[in-house]
Protein backbone atom coordinates (compact mmCIF):
# COMPACT_ATOMS: atom_id res chain seq x y z
CA UNK A 1 0.00 0.00 0.00
CA UNK A 2 2.63 2.43 1.03
CA UNK A 3 4.45 1.42 -2.12
CA UNK A 4 1.48 2.44 -4.28
CA UNK A 5 1.08 5.72 -2.41
CA UNK A 6 4.72 6.51 -2.76
CA UNK A 7 4.50 5.73 -6.45
CA UNK A 8 1.42 7.90 -6.89
CA UNK A 9 3.16 10.75 -5.05
CA UNK A 10 6.11 10.39 -7.31
CA UNK A 11 3.95 10.46 -10.45
CA UNK A 12 1.97 13.48 -9.26
CA UNK A 13 5.18 15.23 -8.30
CA UNK A 14 6.67 14.45 -11.68
CA UNK A 15 3.54 15.68 -13.46
CA UNK A 16 3.53 18.87 -11.43
CA UNK A 17 7.15 19.46 -12.29
CA UNK A 18 6.42 18.84 -15.92
CA UNK A 19 3.52 21.26 -15.70
CA UNK A 20 5.67 23.94 -14.18
CA UNK A 21 8.38 23.37 -16.75
CA UNK A 22 5.78 23.44 -19.51
CA UNK A 23 4.59 26.84 -18.36
CA UNK A 24 7.99 28.33 -17.71
CA UNK A 25 9.81 26.87 -20.66
CA UNK A 26 8.04 28.83 -23.45
CA UNK A 27 8.59 32.00 -21.50
CA UNK A 28 12.31 31.43 -21.27
CA UNK A 29 12.41 30.24 -24.85
CA UNK A 30 10.76 33.45 -25.97
CA UNK A 31 13.24 35.59 -24.09
CA UNK A 32 15.91 35.97 -26.86
CA UNK A 33 13.43 36.90 -29.58
CA UNK A 34 12.18 39.78 -27.48
CA UNK A 35 15.64 41.34 -27.46
CA UNK A 36 15.72 43.64 -30.43
CA UNK A 37 19.13 45.21 -30.87
CA UNK A 38 17.74 47.63 -33.45
CA UNK A 39 15.28 49.08 -30.97
CA UNK A 40 17.62 51.89 -30.03
CA UNK A 41 19.65 51.82 -33.21
CA UNK A 42 19.92 54.71 -35.60
CA UNK A 43 17.57 54.53 -38.55
CA UNK A 44 18.42 55.89 -41.95
CA UNK A 45 14.94 57.24 -42.74
CA UNK A 46 14.73 58.99 -39.42
CA UNK A 47 18.16 60.57 -39.86
CA UNK A 48 17.34 61.72 -43.36
CA UNK A 49 14.19 63.38 -42.12
CA UNK A 50 16.09 65.09 -39.33
CA UNK A 51 18.95 66.43 -41.38
CA UNK A 52 20.21 67.03 -44.87
CA UNK A 53 23.44 65.14 -44.39
CA UNK A 54 23.97 61.97 -42.39
CA UNK A 55 27.38 62.07 -40.84
CA UNK A 56 29.21 60.23 -38.15
CA UNK A 57 32.78 59.38 -37.30
CA UNK A 58 35.44 57.47 -39.12
CA UNK A 59 39.03 56.49 -38.72
CA UNK A 60 40.45 58.16 -41.82
CA UNK A 61 42.34 61.44 -41.44
CA UNK A 62 40.02 62.99 -44.03
CA UNK A 63 37.11 64.32 -41.98
CA UNK A 64 35.08 64.94 -45.14
CA UNK A 65 34.74 61.18 -45.50
CA UNK A 66 32.65 61.08 -42.32
CA UNK A 67 29.63 62.23 -44.31
CA UNK A 68 27.70 59.10 -45.10
CA UNK A 69 24.88 60.41 -47.22
CA UNK A 70 23.78 63.74 -48.66
CA UNK A 71 20.74 63.12 -50.88
CA UNK A 72 20.58 66.90 -51.52
CA UNK A 73 22.93 66.14 -54.39
CA UNK A 74 19.87 65.01 -56.30
CA UNK A 75 18.20 68.40 -55.95
CA UNK A 76 21.37 70.06 -57.15
CA UNK A 77 21.39 67.71 -60.08
CA UNK A 78 17.85 68.72 -61.04
CA UNK A 79 18.89 72.36 -60.91
CA UNK A 80 22.00 71.68 -62.94
CA UNK A 81 20.32 69.59 -65.60
CA UNK A 82 16.98 71.31 -65.96
CA UNK A 83 16.62 74.69 -64.25
CA UNK A 84 19.94 76.30 -65.14
CA UNK A 85 19.91 75.44 -68.86
CA UNK A 86 16.40 76.84 -69.10
CA UNK A 87 17.34 80.04 -67.30
CA UNK A 88 20.37 80.36 -69.56
CA UNK A 89 18.53 79.60 -72.77
CA UNK A 90 15.67 81.98 -72.01
CA UNK A 91 17.95 84.80 -70.84
CA UNK A 92 20.52 84.56 -73.63
CA UNK A 93 18.35 83.57 -76.58
CA UNK A 94 15.63 85.93 -75.35
CA UNK A 95 18.10 88.80 -75.25
CA UNK A 96 19.46 87.94 -78.70
CA UNK A 97 15.95 87.80 -80.14
CA UNK A 98 15.10 91.11 -78.49
CA UNK A 99 18.21 92.75 -79.93
CA UNK A 100 17.53 91.44 -83.41
CA UNK A 101 13.95 92.69 -83.29
CA UNK A 102 15.09 96.02 -81.88
CA UNK A 103 17.73 96.39 -84.58
CA UNK A 104 15.19 95.64 -87.29
CA UNK A 105 12.77 98.23 -85.92
CA UNK A 106 15.09 100.97 -84.72
CA UNK A 107 18.24 100.31 -86.72
CA UNK A 108 21.50 102.01 -85.83
CA UNK A 109 21.10 105.16 -83.77
CA UNK A 110 22.72 107.77 -86.02
CA UNK A 111 24.56 110.93 -85.12
CA UNK A 112 21.65 113.17 -86.09
CA UNK A 113 23.61 116.24 -87.17
CA UNK A 114 26.37 114.25 -88.79
CA UNK A 115 29.95 114.23 -87.63
CA UNK A 116 31.40 117.59 -86.68
CA UNK A 117 34.95 116.42 -87.15
CA UNK A 118 35.83 117.76 -83.70
CA UNK A 119 36.85 115.10 -81.21
CA UNK A 120 36.35 114.96 -77.48
CA UNK A 121 38.42 112.70 -75.25
CA UNK A 122 36.11 110.27 -73.48
CA UNK A 123 38.26 107.48 -72.05
CA UNK A 124 41.98 107.63 -71.32
CA UNK A 125 44.38 104.78 -72.00
CA UNK A 126 44.11 103.29 -68.55
CA UNK A 127 40.32 103.27 -68.69
CA UNK A 128 40.38 101.59 -72.07
CA UNK A 129 43.01 99.08 -71.00
CA UNK A 130 40.90 98.14 -67.97
CA UNK A 131 37.78 97.86 -70.10
CA UNK A 132 39.37 95.60 -72.70
CA UNK A 133 41.22 93.44 -70.20
CA UNK A 134 37.97 92.83 -68.34
CA UNK A 135 36.05 92.38 -71.59
CA UNK A 136 38.48 89.83 -73.04
CA UNK A 137 38.47 87.87 -69.81
CA UNK A 138 34.69 88.09 -69.63
CA UNK A 139 34.21 86.72 -73.13
CA UNK A 140 36.60 83.84 -72.46
CA UNK A 141 34.93 83.13 -69.12
CA UNK A 142 31.50 83.29 -70.73
CA UNK A 143 32.38 80.90 -73.56
CA UNK A 144 34.15 78.42 -71.29
CA UNK A 145 31.32 78.67 -68.76
CA UNK A 146 28.61 78.19 -71.35
CA UNK A 147 30.61 75.19 -72.57
CA UNK A 148 30.15 73.59 -69.16
CA UNK A 149 26.40 74.25 -69.25
CA UNK A 150 25.59 73.56 -72.90
CA UNK A 151 28.71 71.99 -74.41
CA UNK A 152 27.69 68.40 -74.01
CA UNK A 153 24.40 68.97 -75.80
CA UNK A 154 25.68 71.27 -78.54
CA UNK A 155 29.40 70.68 -79.09
CA UNK A 156 29.98 67.10 -77.99
CA UNK A 157 28.00 65.55 -80.86
CA UNK A 158 29.98 67.69 -83.32
CA UNK A 159 33.48 67.26 -81.93
CA UNK A 160 33.34 63.74 -80.56
CA UNK A 161 34.20 62.71 -76.99
CA UNK A 162 38.00 63.05 -77.15
CA UNK A 163 38.21 66.41 -78.89
CA UNK A 164 35.40 67.86 -76.79
CA UNK A 165 37.08 66.70 -73.59
CA UNK A 166 40.41 68.16 -74.67
CA UNK A 167 38.83 71.51 -75.49
CA UNK A 168 36.82 71.49 -72.27
CA UNK A 169 39.95 70.81 -70.25
CA UNK A 170 41.64 73.92 -71.70
CA UNK A 171 38.43 75.88 -71.33
CA UNK A 172 38.40 74.95 -67.67
CA UNK A 173 41.99 76.12 -67.19
CA UNK A 174 41.15 79.36 -68.98
CA UNK A 175 38.05 79.79 -66.83
CA UNK A 176 40.02 79.26 -63.62
CA UNK A 177 43.07 81.38 -64.41
CA UNK A 178 41.45 84.24 -66.31
CA UNK A 179 39.17 84.76 -63.33
CA UNK A 180 42.08 86.58 -61.67
CA UNK A 181 42.58 89.38 -64.24
CA UNK A 182 38.80 89.56 -64.58
CA UNK A 183 38.39 90.13 -60.84
CA UNK A 184 41.14 92.75 -60.87
CA UNK A 185 39.37 94.44 -63.79
CA UNK A 186 36.07 94.53 -61.93
CA UNK A 187 37.73 96.06 -58.88
CA UNK A 188 39.48 98.72 -60.99
CA UNK A 189 36.24 99.47 -62.86
CA UNK A 190 34.53 99.91 -59.53
CA UNK A 191 37.19 102.37 -58.39
CA UNK A 192 37.71 104.47 -61.52
CA UNK A 193 34.09 105.03 -62.47
CA UNK A 194 32.15 104.85 -59.22
CA UNK A 195 32.02 108.66 -58.89
CA UNK A 196 30.33 108.93 -62.31
CA UNK A 197 27.85 106.16 -61.62
CA UNK A 198 25.89 107.26 -58.57
CA UNK A 199 22.24 107.30 -59.72
CA UNK A 200 20.60 110.72 -59.49
CA UNK A 201 17.56 112.76 -60.61
CA UNK A 202 18.96 113.20 -64.12
CA UNK A 203 18.95 109.43 -64.61
CA UNK A 204 15.33 109.15 -63.52
CA UNK A 205 14.40 111.87 -66.03
CA UNK A 206 16.53 110.10 -68.65
CA UNK A 207 14.74 106.82 -68.02
CA UNK A 208 11.31 108.50 -68.05
CA UNK A 209 12.04 109.92 -71.48
CA UNK A 210 13.05 106.50 -72.78
CA UNK A 211 16.74 107.36 -72.85
CA UNK A 212 16.62 108.33 -76.47
CA UNK A 213 16.59 104.68 -77.37
CA UNK A 214 12.88 104.21 -77.86
CA UNK A 215 12.13 107.48 -79.63
CA UNK A 216 14.24 110.26 -81.13
CA UNK A 217 14.25 112.29 -77.94
CA UNK A 218 17.67 112.99 -76.42
CA UNK A 219 17.35 113.67 -72.72
CA UNK A 220 20.40 115.27 -71.14
CA UNK A 221 22.95 112.96 -69.55
CA UNK A 222 26.22 113.24 -67.73
CA UNK A 223 29.33 111.16 -68.54
CA UNK A 224 27.22 108.04 -68.07
CA UNK A 225 23.50 107.96 -68.68
CA UNK A 226 20.95 105.89 -66.76
CA UNK A 227 21.43 102.86 -68.98
CA UNK A 228 25.20 102.94 -68.72
CA UNK A 229 24.97 103.27 -64.97
CA UNK A 230 22.77 100.17 -65.00
CA UNK A 231 25.42 98.28 -66.98
CA UNK A 232 28.11 99.56 -64.62
CA UNK A 233 26.31 98.21 -61.56
CA UNK A 234 25.52 94.93 -63.33
CA UNK A 235 29.26 94.54 -64.00
CA UNK A 236 30.25 95.48 -60.47
CA UNK A 237 27.62 93.43 -58.64
CA UNK A 238 27.49 90.56 -61.13
CA UNK A 239 31.27 90.43 -61.38
CA UNK A 240 31.75 90.46 -57.62
CA UNK A 241 29.11 87.79 -57.07
CA UNK A 242 30.48 85.48 -59.72
CA UNK A 243 34.03 86.05 -58.52
CA UNK A 244 33.20 85.20 -54.90
CA UNK A 245 31.13 82.13 -55.75
CA UNK A 246 33.68 81.07 -58.35
CA UNK A 247 36.58 81.20 -55.91
CA UNK A 248 34.57 79.17 -53.40
CA UNK A 249 34.37 76.47 -56.09
CA UNK A 250 38.01 76.82 -57.07
CA UNK A 251 39.12 76.34 -53.48
CA UNK A 252 36.94 73.47 -52.29
CA UNK A 253 36.36 73.16 -48.56
CA UNK A 254 37.86 76.55 -47.76
CA UNK A 255 34.95 78.03 -45.88
CA UNK A 256 32.33 75.80 -47.48
CA UNK A 257 31.12 72.24 -47.34
CA UNK A 258 29.39 70.33 -50.10
CA UNK A 259 26.06 72.06 -49.43
CA UNK A 260 27.81 75.43 -49.55
CA UNK A 261 29.49 74.57 -52.83
CA UNK A 262 26.19 73.47 -54.32
CA UNK A 263 24.67 76.82 -53.38
CA UNK A 264 27.72 78.67 -54.66
CA UNK A 265 27.52 76.86 -57.99
CA UNK A 266 23.80 77.64 -58.30
CA UNK A 267 24.35 81.36 -57.66
CA UNK A 268 27.38 81.35 -59.96
CA UNK A 269 25.40 79.73 -62.75
CA UNK A 270 22.34 81.96 -62.57
CA UNK A 271 24.31 85.20 -62.16
CA UNK A 272 26.59 84.22 -65.04
CA UNK A 273 23.70 83.50 -67.41
CA UNK A 274 22.02 86.84 -66.63
CA UNK A 275 25.40 88.57 -66.83
CA UNK A 276 26.02 87.19 -70.31
CA UNK A 277 22.56 88.29 -71.42
CA UNK A 278 23.12 91.82 -70.08
CA UNK A 279 26.53 92.04 -71.73
CA UNK A 280 25.01 91.10 -75.09
CA UNK A 281 22.91 94.24 -74.83
CA UNK A 282 26.01 96.23 -73.85
CA UNK A 283 27.96 94.88 -76.83
CA UNK A 284 25.04 95.63 -79.14
CA UNK A 285 24.68 99.27 -78.17
CA UNK A 286 28.43 99.76 -78.20
CA UNK A 287 28.83 98.43 -81.74
CA UNK A 288 26.09 98.12 -84.36
CA UNK A 289 23.44 99.69 -82.15
CA UNK A 290 24.84 103.23 -82.18
CA UNK A 291 26.92 105.22 -84.60
CA UNK A 292 30.02 106.71 -83.03
CA UNK A 293 29.86 104.73 -79.80
CA UNK A 294 32.54 102.09 -80.40
CA UNK A 295 35.31 104.63 -80.99
CA UNK A 296 34.87 105.87 -77.42
CA UNK A 297 36.40 102.62 -76.19
CA UNK A 298 38.64 101.90 -79.17
CA UNK A 299 40.15 105.35 -79.93
CA UNK A 300 39.21 106.93 -76.65
CA UNK A 301 37.57 109.88 -78.40
CA UNK A 302 34.08 110.68 -79.62
CA UNK A 303 32.72 113.19 -82.09
CA UNK A 304 31.46 116.38 -80.51
CA UNK A 305 28.06 116.00 -82.14
CA UNK A 306 27.78 112.49 -80.71
CA UNK A 307 28.60 113.86 -77.28
CA UNK A 308 26.07 116.67 -77.67
CA UNK A 309 23.38 114.19 -78.67
CA UNK A 310 23.97 111.58 -76.00
CA UNK A 311 25.85 113.23 -73.14
CA UNK A 312 25.04 116.93 -73.32
CA UNK A 313 25.78 117.66 -69.66
CA UNK A 314 29.11 115.86 -69.84
CA UNK A 315 30.09 117.83 -72.98
CA UNK A 316 29.25 121.11 -71.22
CA UNK A 317 31.40 120.03 -68.33
CA UNK A 318 34.32 119.13 -70.58
CA UNK A 319 33.98 122.43 -72.46
CA UNK A 320 33.90 124.44 -69.25
CA UNK A 321 37.09 122.78 -68.10
CA UNK A 322 38.81 123.54 -71.40
CA UNK A 323 40.48 126.95 -71.95
CA UNK A 324 37.83 129.59 -72.63
CA UNK A 325 36.73 129.99 -76.19
CA UNK A 326 38.54 126.93 -77.37
CA UNK A 327 36.63 123.92 -78.53
CA UNK A 328 38.00 120.63 -77.26
CA UNK A 329 40.73 119.70 -79.66
CA UNK A 330 41.28 116.41 -81.28
CA UNK A 331 43.58 114.62 -78.92
CA UNK A 332 45.65 111.75 -80.18
CA UNK A 333 44.57 108.47 -78.70
CA UNK A 334 48.02 107.91 -77.20
Amino acid sequence: MTGILARARFIIGALLLLFVVAIVAPVSAQQPTRVNPTESSVKEDQLLQQMQIINGRGSLPDAKSYNLEQPAGRDWRAFQDVTLPWIGAIAILGMLALLVVFYLIRGMVKIENGRSGRLVVRFNTFERFTHWMTATCFITLAISGLNIAFGKSLLLPLLGAEAFSGWSQWAKYAHNYLSFPFTIGVVVILLIWVANNIPNQIDIEWLKRGGGIAGHDHPPAEKFNGGQKGIYWIVVIGGTTSAITGYLLMFPFYGTGIAGMQTAQMIHGVVAMLFVAAMLAHIYIGTIGMEGAFEAMSEGTVDENWAKQHHSLWLDEVKNKAPSGATPRATPAE
Binding site: K43, L68, P252
Partner: protein, 198 residues
Protein backbone atom coordinates in the same frame (compact mmCIF):
# COMPACT_ATOMS: atom_id res chain seq x y z
CA UNK B 1 22.71 40.36 -66.91
CA UNK B 2 23.02 40.91 -63.28
CA UNK B 3 22.30 44.27 -61.70
CA UNK B 4 25.27 44.72 -59.38
CA UNK B 5 24.72 46.44 -56.05
CA UNK B 6 26.36 46.89 -52.68
CA UNK B 7 24.52 46.24 -49.44
CA UNK B 8 25.93 46.96 -46.01
CA UNK B 9 24.21 45.12 -43.18
CA UNK B 10 24.82 47.69 -40.46
CA UNK B 11 23.81 45.20 -37.76
CA UNK B 12 26.81 43.10 -38.68
CA UNK B 13 29.46 45.70 -39.42
CA UNK B 14 32.05 45.73 -36.66
CA UNK B 15 33.91 48.76 -38.01
CA UNK B 16 37.09 46.79 -38.62
CA UNK B 17 37.93 48.84 -41.71
CA UNK B 18 39.33 45.80 -43.49
CA UNK B 19 37.21 46.66 -46.58
CA UNK B 20 38.88 50.07 -46.67
CA UNK B 21 42.33 48.56 -46.48
CA UNK B 22 41.60 45.78 -48.95
CA UNK B 23 40.33 48.30 -51.48
CA UNK B 24 43.32 50.59 -51.11
CA UNK B 25 45.71 47.70 -51.48
CA UNK B 26 43.98 45.88 -54.32
CA UNK B 27 43.84 48.96 -56.52
CA UNK B 28 46.95 50.81 -55.35
CA UNK B 29 44.65 53.76 -54.66
CA UNK B 30 46.66 57.01 -54.50
CA UNK B 31 47.54 58.62 -51.20
CA UNK B 32 44.75 60.73 -49.79
CA UNK B 33 41.97 58.94 -51.66
CA UNK B 34 39.74 56.30 -50.13
CA UNK B 35 37.31 54.67 -52.45
CA UNK B 36 35.61 52.98 -49.52
CA UNK B 37 35.20 54.18 -45.97
CA UNK B 38 33.43 53.16 -42.79
CA UNK B 39 31.30 55.74 -41.03
CA UNK B 40 30.03 55.20 -37.49
CA UNK B 41 26.83 56.98 -36.56
CA UNK B 42 26.20 57.85 -32.92
CA UNK B 43 29.66 56.58 -32.07
CA UNK B 44 29.91 55.47 -28.45
CA UNK B 45 26.20 55.80 -27.78
CA UNK B 46 23.64 53.03 -27.44
CA UNK B 47 22.38 52.07 -30.87
CA UNK B 48 25.51 53.17 -32.75
CA UNK B 49 25.80 51.67 -36.21
CA UNK B 50 28.68 51.49 -38.64
CA UNK B 51 28.16 51.54 -42.36
CA UNK B 52 30.75 50.80 -44.99
CA UNK B 53 30.18 53.18 -47.89
CA UNK B 54 31.59 53.65 -51.37
CA UNK B 55 30.12 54.48 -54.75
CA UNK B 56 26.72 52.75 -54.76
CA UNK B 57 26.58 52.52 -58.57
CA UNK B 58 23.23 54.30 -58.56
CA UNK B 59 20.35 53.69 -60.89
CA UNK B 60 20.16 56.81 -63.08
CA UNK B 61 23.41 58.02 -61.54
CA UNK B 62 23.52 61.74 -60.66
CA UNK B 63 27.26 61.96 -61.36
CA UNK B 64 26.72 60.83 -64.93
CA UNK B 65 23.80 63.22 -65.38
CA UNK B 66 25.73 66.33 -64.33
CA UNK B 67 29.09 65.50 -65.95
CA UNK B 68 29.71 68.29 -68.48
CA UNK B 69 31.82 66.02 -70.71
CA UNK B 70 29.79 62.80 -70.38
CA UNK B 71 32.76 60.77 -69.14
CA UNK B 72 30.57 58.28 -67.26
CA UNK B 73 29.13 55.09 -68.63
CA UNK B 74 27.15 52.21 -67.19
CA UNK B 75 28.27 48.66 -67.91
CA UNK B 76 26.00 45.75 -68.77
CA UNK B 77 26.22 44.79 -65.08
CA UNK B 78 24.89 48.26 -64.17
CA UNK B 79 28.25 49.30 -62.73
CA UNK B 80 28.86 53.05 -63.08
CA UNK B 81 32.34 53.68 -64.46
CA UNK B 82 34.13 56.69 -65.89
CA UNK B 83 36.93 57.53 -68.26
CA UNK B 84 39.87 59.36 -66.71
CA UNK B 85 40.96 60.35 -70.21
CA UNK B 86 37.78 62.34 -70.72
CA UNK B 87 37.40 63.67 -67.15
CA UNK B 88 38.34 67.36 -66.88
CA UNK B 89 38.29 67.47 -63.07
CA UNK B 90 35.51 70.04 -62.77
CA UNK B 91 34.07 68.66 -59.54
CA UNK B 92 30.44 68.51 -60.61
CA UNK B 93 30.01 64.78 -59.94
CA UNK B 94 31.32 65.44 -56.50
CA UNK B 95 28.62 68.05 -55.81
CA UNK B 96 25.92 65.71 -57.13
CA UNK B 97 26.95 62.42 -55.51
CA UNK B 98 24.79 61.54 -52.50
CA UNK B 99 27.52 59.28 -51.11
CA UNK B 100 30.65 61.42 -51.41
CA UNK B 101 32.23 58.87 -53.73
CA UNK B 102 34.10 61.01 -56.28
CA UNK B 103 37.45 62.28 -55.04
CA UNK B 104 40.29 64.18 -56.67
CA UNK B 105 44.02 64.04 -56.25
CA UNK B 106 45.31 67.58 -55.85
CA UNK B 107 47.82 68.04 -58.62
CA UNK B 108 48.55 71.72 -58.53
CA UNK B 109 47.94 75.11 -57.06
CA UNK B 110 44.63 76.95 -56.90
CA UNK B 111 42.82 73.79 -55.91
CA UNK B 112 43.16 72.43 -59.42
CA UNK B 113 41.78 68.97 -59.34
CA UNK B 114 43.25 66.03 -61.13
CA UNK B 115 41.21 63.26 -62.68
CA UNK B 116 38.35 62.06 -60.53
CA UNK B 117 38.78 58.73 -58.79
CA UNK B 118 36.06 56.55 -57.33
CA UNK B 119 35.09 52.96 -56.62
CA UNK B 120 34.93 50.92 -59.83
CA UNK B 121 33.13 47.94 -58.27
CA UNK B 122 36.47 46.23 -59.02
CA UNK B 123 35.52 46.52 -62.69
CA UNK B 124 38.35 48.71 -64.01
CA UNK B 125 37.66 51.26 -66.73
CA UNK B 126 37.24 51.67 -70.46
CA UNK B 127 40.67 50.23 -71.28
CA UNK B 128 41.07 46.57 -72.25
CA UNK B 129 40.16 44.25 -69.35
CA UNK B 130 43.17 43.44 -67.22
CA UNK B 131 45.55 45.68 -69.18
CA UNK B 132 48.39 47.59 -67.53
CA UNK B 133 46.84 50.90 -68.60
CA UNK B 134 43.57 49.93 -66.95
CA UNK B 135 45.31 48.90 -63.74
CA UNK B 136 47.31 52.13 -63.54
CA UNK B 137 44.26 54.35 -63.95
CA UNK B 138 41.50 52.41 -62.24
CA UNK B 139 42.99 49.43 -60.42
CA UNK B 140 42.25 45.75 -60.70
CA UNK B 141 39.42 44.40 -62.82
CA UNK B 142 38.19 41.52 -60.71
CA UNK B 143 34.76 41.46 -62.29
CA UNK B 144 36.29 40.55 -65.65
CA UNK B 145 37.93 37.59 -63.89
CA UNK B 146 34.58 36.48 -62.56
CA UNK B 147 35.29 37.71 -59.03
CA UNK B 148 33.22 40.07 -56.94
CA UNK B 149 34.58 43.27 -55.33
CA UNK B 150 37.30 42.45 -52.83
CA UNK B 151 35.86 44.62 -50.05
CA UNK B 152 32.74 42.47 -49.87
CA UNK B 153 34.49 39.19 -50.63
CA UNK B 154 36.79 39.47 -47.63
CA UNK B 155 34.33 41.06 -45.18
CA UNK B 156 34.83 38.97 -42.05
CA UNK B 157 31.28 39.30 -40.77
CA UNK B 158 29.74 39.24 -44.23
CA UNK B 159 28.22 42.55 -43.41
CA UNK B 160 29.15 44.04 -46.76
CA UNK B 161 27.48 42.18 -49.59
CA UNK B 162 28.16 42.63 -53.28
CA UNK B 163 26.56 40.92 -56.22
CA UNK B 164 23.31 40.86 -58.08
CA UNK B 165 20.85 43.14 -56.35
CA UNK B 166 18.07 40.57 -56.12
CA UNK B 167 20.35 37.90 -54.65
CA UNK B 168 21.97 40.08 -52.00
CA UNK B 169 18.57 41.52 -51.11
CA UNK B 170 17.19 38.03 -50.56
CA UNK B 171 20.22 37.09 -48.42
CA UNK B 172 19.61 40.18 -46.33
CA UNK B 173 15.88 39.54 -46.04
CA UNK B 174 16.54 35.99 -44.87
CA UNK B 175 18.90 37.28 -42.20
CA UNK B 176 16.32 39.77 -41.02
CA UNK B 177 13.66 37.07 -40.77
CA UNK B 178 15.96 34.65 -38.92
CA UNK B 179 17.37 37.07 -36.39
CA UNK B 180 14.18 39.11 -36.15
CA UNK B 181 15.63 42.55 -36.78
CA UNK B 182 17.47 44.67 -39.31
CA UNK B 183 18.20 48.36 -39.58
CA UNK B 184 17.66 48.36 -43.32
CA UNK B 185 19.80 48.57 -46.41
CA UNK B 186 21.58 51.89 -46.00
CA UNK B 187 21.59 54.09 -49.05
CA UNK B 188 19.31 51.90 -51.13
CA UNK B 189 16.48 54.36 -51.22
CA UNK B 190 18.81 57.11 -52.37
CA UNK B 191 20.77 54.98 -54.81
CA UNK B 192 18.23 52.55 -56.20
CA UNK B 193 14.92 54.17 -55.19
CA UNK B 194 13.93 51.03 -53.34
CA UNK B 195 14.23 49.78 -49.79
CA UNK B 196 14.31 46.37 -48.23
CA UNK B 197 11.65 45.91 -45.54
CA UNK B 198 13.28 45.40 -42.16
Amino acid sequence: MARMKFLCDADRCIECNACVTACKNEHEVPWGINRRRVVTINDGKPGERSVSMACMHCTDAPCAAVCPVNCFYTTADAVVLHSKDLCIGCGYCFYACPFGAPQYPKVGNFGSRGKMDKCTYCAGGPEADGSVAEYEKYGANRLAEGKLPLCAEMCSTKSLLAGDGDIIASIYKERVVKRGYGSGAWGWKTAYKESIAS
